[in-house]
């Protein structure tokens, strides 16, 4: 399928920007209360840069989004989501199949693990991105199942103990709260599902 990149990016940006307070509140419970601010700064910069970004071919456009996030987010999530978009830009073919999407997201997850020195189960964005990538790769994914998995995976970070990121400073006290990065990943994946389903 041909990805409606611009609509995707607009929707992801809008959803993240309007969820800023929620994301910051989640980060306030187990971190430094800036995840929403950081992500908002990043996606506002992406929006401000849209003309430049979409002057490029799709792969390069995604890389440019990643670079903007790297430069503007200002928190650990900047290089992490930046790496995600840059890897997608490198890995996605022109008209990707669902399996292609899965492979590209899986490659991003691998790069993100290296960037964060983190793994699945550490109570991070990886706990949403990892399962979704695996599910897409499995070949049995529907928009509905992806959306459900993203939501479920974000929720599944609540009982986890944080091993990476600021929340790890809390040790056992990080248990009982959703990871802010897991939630922002859920929001982005949901936004993509909605667009692909034609309801942005």
């Amino acid at each position: 399928m041909a990805l409606p990149l611009e609509t995707l990016l607009d929707t992801v940006s809008a959803r993240i920007i309007s969820a800023a307070d929620e994301l910051t509140a989640l980060d306030s419970a187990i971190g430094d209360a800036d995840h929403g601010l950081n992500m908002k700064r990043g996606f506002e910069a992406v929006q401000a840069d849209k003309a430049g970004i979409f002057a490029k071919p799709p792969g390069e456009a995604l890389k440019a989004v990643g670079m903007t996030l790297v430069m503007k987010v200002g928190g650990a999530s900047g290089p992490l989501y930046g790496t995600l978009f840059m890897t997608l830009g490198k890995e996605l073919p022109e008209n990707p199949s669902v399996a292609d999407l899965g492979r590209a997201l899986q490659a991003s997850v691998t790069a993100l693990k290296a960037r964060g020195k983190a793994d699945i189960g550490n109570k991070t964005m990886l706990d949403v991105l990892g399962p979704v990538a695996a599910h897409l790769e499995s070949g049995s994914a529907s928009i509905e199942s992806v959306r459900a998995l993203a939501t479920e995976s974000a929720k599944a970070t609540i009982p986890m103990k944080a091993i990476r990121g600021r929340a790890s400073f809390l040790g056992d006290r990080s248990i009982g709260h959703m990871d802010p990065g897991a939630r922002s990943s859920e929001i982005m994946i949901t936004a993509v599902c909605d667009v692909l389903e034609g309801k942005p």
Partner: protein, 128 residues
């Protein structure tokens, strides 16, 4: 041989204060760069500022970067990867506290230590 020192903190004040402490100890003989704050100036770090600090402290003998918490390290690693290969291989991030490590690292750099010496000194002598 004089290795350069780069200080990366979430706080612009911490970065500036640590740089003052370094300067008090080693004067102007050690190349020094420092930065703190996200791109808006609030607490956080910025790849752009880190790149500028590396540039300010650049030494062909190498650069030792001191960081405080998580994001400072991740953003510093990202900054390093954006540099050309011949610069990249001359930069290390020390596993040492940002203030104490910067003073130790700069003292070793001032004494003519190699990049490996500077890194080791910061990592060994810093309080744990």
């Amino acid at each position: 041989m004089t290795v350069g020192i780069v200080i990366v903190s979430h706080s612009p004040d911490v970065a500036k204060g640590a740089a003052d402490m370094v300067r008090q100890m080693v004067g102007n003989e050690v190349p020094l760069g420092f930065c703190g704050g996200n791109p808006d100036g609030g607490l956080g770090t910025s790849v752009e500022k880190i790149l500028a600090a590396i540039d300010a402290a650049w030494s062909e003998d190498g650069i030792a970067i001191l960081v405080d918490l998580g994001g400072a390290e991740t953003n510093s690693e990202m900054a390093i990867e954006m540099l050309p290969e011949e610069r990249r291989q001359k930069i290390v991030i020390c596993n040492a506290p940002v203030v104490e490590g910067a003073v130790m690292a700069a003292t070793e750099a001032w004494g003519g230590g190699s990049l490996a010496d500077v890194k080791r000194t910061a990592e060994e002598l810093s309080p744990q």
